[in-house]
Symmetry: C3
Subunit: 145 residues, 3 copies
Protein backbone atom coordinates (compact mmCIF):
# COMPACT_ATOMS: atom_id res chain seq x y z
CA UNK A 1 0.00 0.00 0.00
CA UNK A 2 1.28 3.44 -0.84
CA UNK A 3 1.66 6.08 1.87
CA UNK A 4 -1.72 7.68 2.60
CA UNK A 5 -0.21 10.85 4.07
CA UNK A 6 1.06 11.85 0.68
CA UNK A 7 0.54 14.78 -1.67
CA UNK A 8 -0.53 12.13 -4.22
CA UNK A 9 -3.55 11.19 -2.08
CA UNK A 10 -6.46 13.56 -2.87
CA UNK A 11 -8.11 12.74 0.48
CA UNK A 12 -4.99 13.96 2.25
CA UNK A 13 -4.62 17.18 0.24
CA UNK A 14 -8.34 17.88 0.74
CA UNK A 15 -7.86 17.43 4.48
CA UNK A 16 -4.90 19.84 4.42
CA UNK A 17 -7.01 22.47 2.64
CA UNK A 18 -10.04 22.26 4.95
CA UNK A 19 -7.85 22.05 8.08
CA UNK A 20 -6.18 25.31 6.98
CA UNK A 21 -9.54 26.97 6.23
CA UNK A 22 -10.67 26.05 9.75
CA UNK A 23 -7.39 27.40 11.18
CA UNK A 24 -8.14 30.71 9.41
CA UNK A 25 -11.71 30.60 10.75
CA UNK A 26 -10.55 30.18 14.38
CA UNK A 27 -7.80 32.79 13.94
CA UNK A 28 -10.39 35.38 12.91
CA UNK A 29 -12.34 34.96 16.18
CA UNK A 30 -9.66 36.82 18.17
CA UNK A 31 -9.68 40.09 16.16
CA UNK A 32 -13.49 39.77 16.07
CA UNK A 33 -13.53 39.64 19.89
CA UNK A 34 -11.13 42.59 19.88
CA UNK A 35 -13.53 44.54 17.66
CA UNK A 36 -16.44 43.89 20.06
CA UNK A 37 -14.27 44.80 23.08
CA UNK A 38 -13.26 48.09 21.42
CA UNK A 39 -16.73 49.14 20.24
CA UNK A 40 -18.38 48.10 23.54
CA UNK A 41 -15.48 49.45 25.63
CA UNK A 42 -15.60 46.15 27.52
CA UNK A 43 -12.13 44.88 28.45
CA UNK A 44 -10.98 41.94 30.57
CA UNK A 45 -7.88 43.63 32.00
CA UNK A 46 -7.42 46.97 33.81
CA UNK A 47 -4.37 47.82 31.65
CA UNK A 48 -6.44 47.33 28.45
CA UNK A 49 -9.34 49.40 29.79
CA UNK A 50 -6.94 52.21 30.69
CA UNK A 51 -5.07 51.91 27.39
CA UNK A 52 -8.26 52.21 25.31
CA UNK A 53 -10.02 54.95 27.25
CA UNK A 54 -12.38 52.89 29.45
CA UNK A 55 -12.41 53.30 33.21
CA UNK A 56 -12.55 49.70 34.41
CA UNK A 57 -12.82 46.17 33.00
CA UNK A 58 -16.43 45.25 32.39
CA UNK A 59 -18.53 42.41 31.03
CA UNK A 60 -20.61 43.00 27.90
CA UNK A 61 -23.12 40.49 26.57
CA UNK A 62 -22.04 40.96 22.90
CA UNK A 63 -18.43 40.27 23.86
CA UNK A 64 -19.47 37.21 25.88
CA UNK A 65 -21.47 35.93 22.91
CA UNK A 66 -18.52 36.07 20.50
CA UNK A 67 -16.36 34.46 23.21
CA UNK A 68 -18.87 31.61 23.54
CA UNK A 69 -18.75 31.12 19.74
CA UNK A 70 -14.92 31.08 19.93
CA UNK A 71 -15.01 28.59 22.81
CA UNK A 72 -17.32 26.31 20.84
CA UNK A 73 -14.73 26.34 18.04
CA UNK A 74 -12.02 25.30 20.53
CA UNK A 75 -14.25 22.45 21.70
CA UNK A 76 -14.78 21.09 18.17
CA UNK A 77 -12.15 22.15 15.62
CA UNK A 78 -9.02 20.60 17.25
CA UNK A 79 -10.95 17.29 17.28
CA UNK A 80 -11.36 17.67 13.51
CA UNK A 81 -7.65 18.40 13.04
CA UNK A 82 -6.53 15.14 14.65
CA UNK A 83 -9.41 12.92 13.55
CA UNK A 84 -9.38 14.15 9.93
CA UNK A 85 -5.67 13.38 9.80
CA UNK A 86 -6.18 9.87 11.21
CA UNK A 87 -9.32 9.23 9.15
CA UNK A 88 -7.16 9.69 6.03
CA UNK A 89 -5.28 6.57 7.16
CA UNK A 90 -8.45 4.47 6.90
CA UNK A 91 -8.21 4.97 3.11
CA UNK A 92 -11.79 6.23 2.71
CA UNK A 93 -13.42 6.92 -0.64
CA UNK A 94 -12.51 10.39 -1.85
CA UNK A 95 -16.17 11.35 -2.31
CA UNK A 96 -17.18 10.43 1.24
CA UNK A 97 -14.07 11.93 2.87
CA UNK A 98 -14.44 15.21 0.97
CA UNK A 99 -18.07 15.38 2.02
CA UNK A 100 -17.16 14.83 5.70
CA UNK A 101 -14.47 17.57 5.53
CA UNK A 102 -16.79 20.01 3.74
CA UNK A 103 -19.80 19.36 5.94
CA UNK A 104 -17.73 19.93 9.06
CA UNK A 105 -16.11 23.11 7.70
CA UNK A 106 -19.40 24.62 6.52
CA UNK A 107 -21.12 23.65 9.79
CA UNK A 108 -18.52 25.54 11.81
CA UNK A 109 -18.74 28.69 9.68
CA UNK A 110 -22.55 28.50 9.86
CA UNK A 111 -22.34 27.97 13.64
CA UNK A 112 -20.53 31.25 14.21
CA UNK A 113 -22.85 33.20 11.88
CA UNK A 114 -25.92 31.71 13.58
CA UNK A 115 -24.44 32.30 17.05
CA UNK A 116 -23.66 35.96 16.41
CA UNK A 117 -27.12 36.51 14.93
CA UNK A 118 -28.81 34.81 17.91
CA UNK A 119 -30.56 32.23 15.70
CA UNK A 120 -32.36 29.28 17.29
CA UNK A 121 -30.93 27.16 14.43
CA UNK A 122 -27.46 27.35 16.00
CA UNK A 123 -27.72 23.96 17.83
CA UNK A 124 -28.47 22.29 14.49
CA UNK A 125 -25.25 23.59 12.89
CA UNK A 126 -23.42 22.40 16.01
CA UNK A 127 -24.93 18.91 15.74
CA UNK A 128 -24.02 18.65 12.05
CA UNK A 129 -20.38 19.35 12.91
CA UNK A 130 -20.43 16.89 15.82
CA UNK A 131 -21.93 14.24 13.51
CA UNK A 132 -19.13 14.68 10.94
CA UNK A 133 -16.52 14.34 13.71
CA UNK A 134 -18.35 11.35 15.23
CA UNK A 135 -18.47 9.64 11.82
CA UNK A 136 -14.70 9.99 11.39
CA UNK A 137 -13.98 8.96 15.00
CA UNK A 138 -16.07 5.81 14.55
CA UNK A 139 -14.19 4.92 11.36
CA UNK A 140 -10.77 5.47 12.98
CA UNK A 141 -11.59 3.43 16.10
CA UNK A 142 -13.14 0.65 14.01
CA UNK A 143 -10.05 0.59 11.78
CA UNK A 144 -7.37 0.68 14.51
CA UNK A 145 -8.98 -1.33 17.31
CA UNK B 1 15.23 3.46 8.87
CA UNK B 2 11.68 2.78 7.79
CA UNK B 3 8.99 5.45 8.09
CA UNK B 4 7.73 5.63 11.69
CA UNK B 5 4.38 7.18 10.73
CA UNK B 6 3.33 3.95 9.09
CA UNK B 7 0.54 1.44 9.55
CA UNK B 8 3.34 -1.12 9.97
CA UNK B 9 4.54 0.60 13.16
CA UNK B 10 2.51 -0.68 16.14
CA UNK B 11 3.43 2.43 18.18
CA UNK B 12 1.83 4.57 15.48
CA UNK B 13 -1.36 2.51 15.14
CA UNK B 14 -1.67 2.44 18.95
CA UNK B 15 -1.36 6.22 18.99
CA UNK B 16 -4.09 6.49 16.31
CA UNK B 17 -6.41 4.32 18.38
CA UNK B 18 -5.94 6.19 21.68
CA UNK B 19 -6.05 9.60 19.95
CA UNK B 20 -9.44 8.62 18.49
CA UNK B 21 -10.72 7.33 21.85
CA UNK B 22 -9.78 10.68 23.38
CA UNK B 23 -11.52 12.49 20.51
CA UNK B 24 -14.68 10.53 21.32
CA UNK B 25 -14.22 11.33 25.01
CA UNK B 26 -14.03 15.11 24.36
CA UNK B 27 -16.89 14.96 21.86
CA UNK B 28 -19.16 13.46 24.51
CA UNK B 29 -18.62 16.44 26.86
CA UNK B 30 -20.81 18.71 24.70
CA UNK B 31 -24.01 16.59 24.77
CA UNK B 32 -23.28 15.97 28.48
CA UNK B 33 -23.25 19.74 29.06
CA UNK B 34 -26.44 19.95 27.00
CA UNK B 35 -28.06 17.33 29.23
CA UNK B 36 -27.16 19.32 32.37
CA UNK B 37 -28.38 22.57 30.77
CA UNK B 38 -31.71 20.93 29.87
CA UNK B 39 -32.37 19.23 33.21
CA UNK B 40 -31.24 22.30 35.22
CA UNK B 41 -32.94 24.73 32.80
CA UNK B 42 -29.69 26.71 32.86
CA UNK B 43 -28.82 28.19 29.47
CA UNK B 44 -26.09 30.57 28.36
CA UNK B 45 -28.13 32.37 25.67
CA UNK B 46 -31.55 34.08 25.83
CA UNK B 47 -32.63 32.33 22.59
CA UNK B 48 -31.85 28.90 24.11
CA UNK B 49 -33.65 29.72 27.37
CA UNK B 50 -36.72 30.85 25.42
CA UNK B 51 -36.52 27.84 23.07
CA UNK B 52 -36.44 25.34 25.94
CA UNK B 53 -39.01 26.90 28.23
CA UNK B 54 -36.78 28.80 30.65
CA UNK B 55 -37.27 32.50 31.30
CA UNK B 56 -33.72 33.82 31.24
CA UNK B 57 -30.16 32.52 30.96
CA UNK B 58 -28.83 31.45 34.34
CA UNK B 59 -25.75 29.92 35.91
CA UNK B 60 -26.06 26.50 37.54
CA UNK B 61 -23.26 24.93 39.55
CA UNK B 62 -23.73 21.44 38.01
CA UNK B 63 -23.46 22.94 34.52
CA UNK B 64 -20.35 24.91 35.53
CA UNK B 65 -18.79 21.73 36.93
CA UNK B 66 -19.18 19.77 33.70
CA UNK B 67 -17.89 22.83 31.81
CA UNK B 68 -14.79 22.91 34.03
CA UNK B 69 -14.21 19.19 33.31
CA UNK B 70 -14.59 19.93 29.58
CA UNK B 71 -12.19 22.88 29.82
CA UNK B 72 -9.63 20.69 31.58
CA UNK B 73 -9.85 18.28 28.63
CA UNK B 74 -9.17 21.17 26.23
CA UNK B 75 -6.13 22.12 28.30
CA UNK B 76 -4.63 18.62 28.17
CA UNK B 77 -5.90 16.42 25.32
CA UNK B 78 -4.74 18.55 22.32
CA UNK B 79 -1.24 18.43 23.89
CA UNK B 80 -1.48 14.63 23.78
CA UNK B 81 -2.58 14.66 20.13
CA UNK B 82 0.48 16.56 18.93
CA UNK B 83 3.05 15.16 21.38
CA UNK B 84 1.92 11.53 20.94
CA UNK B 85 2.29 11.96 17.20
CA UNK B 86 5.79 13.44 17.57
CA UNK B 87 6.80 10.96 20.29
CA UNK B 88 6.21 8.16 17.75
CA UNK B 89 9.09 9.69 15.74
CA UNK B 90 11.52 9.06 18.62
CA UNK B 91 11.08 5.33 17.89
CA UNK B 92 10.21 4.36 21.47
CA UNK B 93 9.80 0.79 22.65
CA UNK B 94 6.27 -0.41 21.93
CA UNK B 95 5.72 -1.41 25.56
CA UNK B 96 6.65 1.97 26.98
CA UNK B 97 4.78 3.96 24.31
CA UNK B 98 1.63 1.91 24.72
CA UNK B 99 1.80 2.42 28.47
CA UNK B 100 2.15 6.20 28.05
CA UNK B 101 -0.84 6.30 25.66
CA UNK B 102 -2.97 4.10 27.92
CA UNK B 103 -2.06 5.87 31.16
CA UNK B 104 -2.94 9.24 29.62
CA UNK B 105 -6.24 7.99 28.15
CA UNK B 106 -7.34 6.29 31.36
CA UNK B 107 -6.29 9.32 33.45
CA UNK B 108 -8.51 11.62 31.36
CA UNK B 109 -11.55 9.34 31.58
CA UNK B 110 -10.96 8.99 35.35
CA UNK B 111 -10.55 12.76 35.65
CA UNK B 112 -14.03 13.47 34.26
CA UNK B 113 -15.66 10.76 36.41
CA UNK B 114 -13.89 12.06 39.53
CA UNK B 115 -14.72 15.67 38.64
CA UNK B 116 -18.43 15.00 38.15
CA UNK B 117 -18.58 13.01 41.40
CA UNK B 118 -16.78 15.78 43.32
CA UNK B 119 -13.99 13.46 44.46
CA UNK B 120 -10.89 14.91 46.16
CA UNK B 121 -8.86 12.35 44.14
CA UNK B 122 -9.46 14.39 40.95
CA UNK B 123 -6.12 16.30 41.15
CA UNK B 124 -4.30 12.96 41.22
CA UNK B 125 -5.88 11.79 37.95
CA UNK B 126 -4.98 15.19 36.49
CA UNK B 127 -1.34 14.84 37.58
CA UNK B 128 -1.08 11.33 36.12
CA UNK B 129 -2.17 12.69 32.72
CA UNK B 130 0.19 15.65 32.97
CA UNK B 131 3.05 13.26 33.83
CA UNK B 132 2.38 11.11 30.76
CA UNK B 133 2.37 14.23 28.55
CA UNK B 134 5.50 15.60 30.26
CA UNK B 135 7.30 12.28 29.72
CA UNK B 136 6.57 12.37 25.99
CA UNK B 137 7.42 16.10 25.70
CA UNK B 138 10.77 15.48 27.38
CA UNK B 139 11.55 12.63 24.97
CA UNK B 140 10.60 14.69 21.90
CA UNK B 141 12.63 17.75 22.96
CA UNK B 142 15.61 15.57 23.91
CA UNK B 143 15.41 13.81 20.53
CA UNK B 144 14.97 16.89 18.30
CA UNK B 145 17.06 19.50 20.10
CA UNK C 1 9.79 14.42 -4.51
CA UNK C 2 10.94 12.88 -1.26
CA UNK C 3 8.62 12.69 1.75
CA UNK C 4 8.50 16.07 3.52
CA UNK C 5 7.35 14.58 6.84
CA UNK C 6 10.71 12.93 7.30
CA UNK C 7 13.49 13.09 9.86
CA UNK C 8 15.74 14.00 6.91
CA UNK C 9 13.81 17.26 6.35
CA UNK C 10 15.23 19.97 8.67
CA UNK C 11 12.00 22.00 8.38
CA UNK C 12 10.10 19.01 9.77
CA UNK C 13 12.50 18.31 12.65
CA UNK C 14 12.50 22.02 13.50
CA UNK C 15 8.71 21.95 13.60
CA UNK C 16 8.80 18.90 15.90
CA UNK C 17 11.16 20.71 18.28
CA UNK C 18 9.16 23.96 18.50
CA UNK C 19 5.84 22.10 18.68
CA UNK C 20 7.20 20.21 21.70
CA UNK C 21 8.53 23.40 23.32
CA UNK C 22 5.05 24.91 22.97
CA UNK C 23 3.50 21.75 24.43
CA UNK C 24 5.78 22.18 27.46
CA UNK C 25 4.83 25.86 27.64
CA UNK C 26 1.08 25.10 27.73
CA UNK C 27 1.60 22.21 30.17
CA UNK C 28 3.26 24.58 32.65
CA UNK C 29 0.19 26.87 32.77
CA UNK C 30 -1.79 24.32 34.83
CA UNK C 31 0.66 24.01 37.77
CA UNK C 32 1.10 27.80 37.54
CA UNK C 33 -2.66 28.24 37.97
CA UNK C 34 -2.48 25.72 40.83
CA UNK C 35 0.22 27.81 42.49
CA UNK C 36 -1.92 30.97 42.25
CA UNK C 37 -4.98 29.09 43.56
CA UNK C 38 -2.98 27.78 46.55
CA UNK C 39 -1.30 31.06 47.49
CA UNK C 40 -4.53 33.08 46.99
CA UNK C 41 -6.72 30.35 48.57
CA UNK C 42 -9.03 30.79 45.57
CA UNK C 43 -10.50 27.50 44.37
CA UNK C 44 -13.13 26.70 41.75
CA UNK C 45 -14.62 23.67 43.54
CA UNK C 46 -15.97 23.26 47.10
CA UNK C 47 -14.04 19.98 47.52
CA UNK C 48 -10.75 21.73 46.63
CA UNK C 49 -11.46 24.66 48.95
CA UNK C 50 -12.21 22.26 51.80
CA UNK C 51 -9.18 20.09 50.98
CA UNK C 52 -6.76 23.03 51.06
CA UNK C 53 -8.11 24.88 54.10
CA UNK C 54 -10.30 27.50 52.44
CA UNK C 55 -13.93 27.92 53.36
CA UNK C 56 -15.62 28.32 49.99
CA UNK C 57 -14.71 28.59 46.32
CA UNK C 58 -13.86 32.17 45.43
CA UNK C 59 -12.70 34.23 42.47
CA UNK C 60 -9.31 35.95 42.65
CA UNK C 61 -8.09 38.40 40.03
CA UNK C 62 -4.53 36.95 39.92
CA UNK C 63 -5.97 33.47 39.29
CA UNK C 64 -8.28 34.84 36.59
CA UNK C 65 -5.32 36.58 34.94
CA UNK C 66 -3.24 33.39 34.65
CA UNK C 67 -6.37 31.59 33.41
CA UNK C 68 -6.84 34.23 30.70
CA UNK C 69 -3.19 33.75 29.66
CA UNK C 70 -3.79 29.97 29.55
CA UNK C 71 -6.99 30.44 27.51
CA UNK C 72 -5.13 32.64 25.03
CA UNK C 73 -2.63 29.78 24.58
CA UNK C 74 -5.51 27.39 23.85
CA UNK C 75 -6.83 29.84 21.25
CA UNK C 76 -3.50 30.06 19.42
CA UNK C 77 -1.12 27.14 20.02
CA UNK C 78 -3.28 24.26 18.65
CA UNK C 79 -3.58 26.32 15.43
CA UNK C 80 0.23 26.33 15.25
CA UNK C 81 0.40 22.56 15.81
CA UNK C 82 -1.76 21.75 12.79
CA UNK C 83 -0.71 24.58 10.52
CA UNK C 84 3.03 24.15 11.18
CA UNK C 85 2.66 20.47 10.33
CA UNK C 86 0.81 21.28 7.08
CA UNK C 87 3.10 24.21 6.23
CA UNK C 88 6.00 21.73 6.17
CA UNK C 89 4.24 20.11 3.19
CA UNK C 90 4.53 23.32 1.15
CA UNK C 91 8.30 22.67 1.09
CA UNK C 92 9.26 26.14 2.37
CA UNK C 93 12.84 27.39 2.59
CA UNK C 94 14.42 26.21 5.84
CA UNK C 95 15.40 29.77 6.82
CA UNK C 96 11.88 31.18 6.46
CA UNK C 97 10.17 28.18 8.09
CA UNK C 98 12.54 28.22 11.06
CA UNK C 99 11.91 31.94 11.48
CA UNK C 100 8.12 31.42 11.46
CA UNK C 101 8.40 28.62 14.06
CA UNK C 102 10.76 30.64 16.27
CA UNK C 103 8.82 33.90 16.04
CA UNK C 104 5.61 32.12 17.01
CA UNK C 105 7.23 30.24 19.91
CA UNK C 106 8.95 33.32 21.31
CA UNK C 107 5.79 35.41 20.88
CA UNK C 108 3.78 32.96 22.98
CA UNK C 109 6.36 32.83 25.77
CA UNK C 110 6.56 36.64 25.72
CA UNK C 111 2.75 36.85 25.75
CA UNK C 112 2.46 34.95 29.04
CA UNK C 113 5.27 36.94 30.68
CA UNK C 114 3.71 40.23 29.53
CA UNK C 115 0.23 39.09 30.58
CA UNK C 116 1.29 38.10 34.09
CA UNK C 117 3.21 41.37 34.51
CA UNK C 118 0.20 43.42 33.31
CA UNK C 119 2.19 45.05 30.49
CA UNK C 120 0.39 47.11 27.83
CA UNK C 121 2.76 45.50 25.29
CA UNK C 122 0.87 42.18 25.62
CA UNK C 123 -1.38 42.77 22.55
CA UNK C 124 1.75 43.24 20.42
CA UNK C 125 3.16 39.83 21.39
CA UNK C 126 -0.28 38.38 20.63
CA UNK C 127 -0.34 39.99 17.17
CA UNK C 128 3.16 38.72 16.35
CA UNK C 129 2.02 35.16 17.07
CA UNK C 130 -1.19 35.61 15.07
CA UNK C 131 0.86 36.97 12.15
CA UNK C 132 3.15 33.93 12.13
CA UNK C 133 0.10 31.61 12.13
CA UNK C 134 -1.64 33.71 9.44
CA UNK C 135 1.49 33.57 7.25
CA UNK C 136 1.57 29.75 7.44
CA UNK C 137 -2.21 29.44 6.93
CA UNK C 138 -2.00 31.61 3.81
CA UNK C 139 0.81 29.45 2.41
CA UNK C 140 -1.06 26.20 3.09
CA UNK C 141 -4.34 27.40 1.56
CA UNK C 142 -2.52 28.86 -1.46
CA UNK C 143 -0.66 25.56 -1.92
CA UNK C 144 -3.60 23.16 -1.50
CA UNK C 145 -6.47 25.12 -3.03
Amino acid sequence: MSNLWSLDNPVFTDFAFYAAVLAAKVLIMAPLTGHYRMTRKAFANPEDAKNFGAKDPKVNEDVERVRRAHQNDLENIPIFWIIGLLYTLTNPSHTIARMAFRVFTFSRIAHTILYLSGSVLRPMSFLVGVSANAFMIFNVIYNFI
